[in-house]
Amino acid sequence: MIIITLRYFASLREQIGRSQETLTLTDSITVLDVWQKVHQTPLPDNTLIAVNMEYVERMHYICDGDEVAFFPPVTGG
C-alpha cells in the first residue's frame, strides 16, 4: 500500500480550497495520474510538481511516503 501526502500552494491552493490531503493507492502511479485521480480535471498547463521538495516531471512515479506538491510558476525575489 502506498500512502502519499498532496500539497497545494498559492493560487492553486485557493482554487482547490485546501492546502493538503492524503491519498492511499495500491500501486505506484505517475504524479500526473495522481492529479487526475484526485481532481478529475486536466492539470493546469503551467503547474510545477515537486516530490519530496525536488522538482519532477509529470511522468515521475510516486513511492510510499512521498510528499507530492503542485503549484503555479514561482514568483519570488
Binding site: 500539497r7 500552494f9 498559492a10 493560487s11 510545477l48 515537486a50 521538495m53 525536488e54 522538482y55 506538491a69 503549484f71 503555479p72 510558476p73 514561482v74 514568483t75 519570488g76 525575489g77
Partner: protein
C-alpha cells in the same frame, strides 16, 4: 554559505555588514557583488499597496542550497548570503538580498546574477499583491531577466 528566510522587515546593509564581520576572510576577498530586491508601489501599470509572500517551507531552503552549490561549481566564490522575506510586506521594504564574496570581480558579478535568476525561476515563493482598490491578485509571472537596452 547562509540562507535566511525571515518573516519581518530586515535591513539589508546591516545584514551584509554583520555577516561580513563574522567571516574569517579579511584580506582574502577583493570583490563583493550584492543584489537587493525591494517592493515597489506599482506593478504592471497598477498601484500596489501591500503584498503577501507565501513559500513552501523546507523546499525553499533545499532549492536555494542547491542553487548556491551549482554556483560554487561554476565560479570561485568564497561566501554567499541569501536573505528572503516572507509574509506581509509593504512598499519600499526589501524582499530579497543576495551577497557574494570572491577574490576577483567577475566571479562575484556572475555568481550573484546567476543565483538571482535561478531564485526567480526555481525557489518556491509566490507573491499576492493588494492593489489600491483593495483587490488582491497573484503575481502570475516574474519579469524577464534581460534588460531592454535603449
Amino acid at each position: 554559505m547562509t540562507i535566511k528566510i525571515v518573516e519581518t522587515v530586515f535591513e539589508p546593509f546591516q545584514e551584509i555588514h554583520a555577516f561580513q564581520m563574522q567571516l574569517a576572510l579579511n584580506g582574502k576577498f577583493g570583490a563583493t557583488s550584492i543584489f537587493i530586491g525591494t517592493m515597489r508601489d506599482f506593478n504592471e501599470g497598477d498601484q500596489v499597496h501591500a503584498m503577501t509572500l507565501e513559500h513552501y517551507e523546507g523546499m525553499t531552503q533545499k532549492q536555494l542550497e542547491k542553487i548556491i552549490e551549482i554556483a560554487k561549481d561554476k565560479w570561485t566564490i568564497l561566501e554567499a548570503l541569501i536573505v528572503h522575506r516572507i509574509g506581509d510586506i509593504l512598499p519600499s521594504e526589501p524582499i530579497v538580498l543576495i551577497a557574494i564574496w570572491s577574490a576577483h570581480r567577475a566571479d562575484a558579478f556572475d555568481a550573484c546574477q546567476y543565483i538571482m535568476e535561478e531564485l526567480k525561476s526555481n525557489a518556491p515563493f509566490w507573491k499576492r499583491e493588494t492593489l489600491n482598490s483593495n483587490q488582491t491578485r497573484w503575481v502570475v509571472k516574474n519579469t524577464d531577466s534581460s534588460a531592454n537596452q535603449k
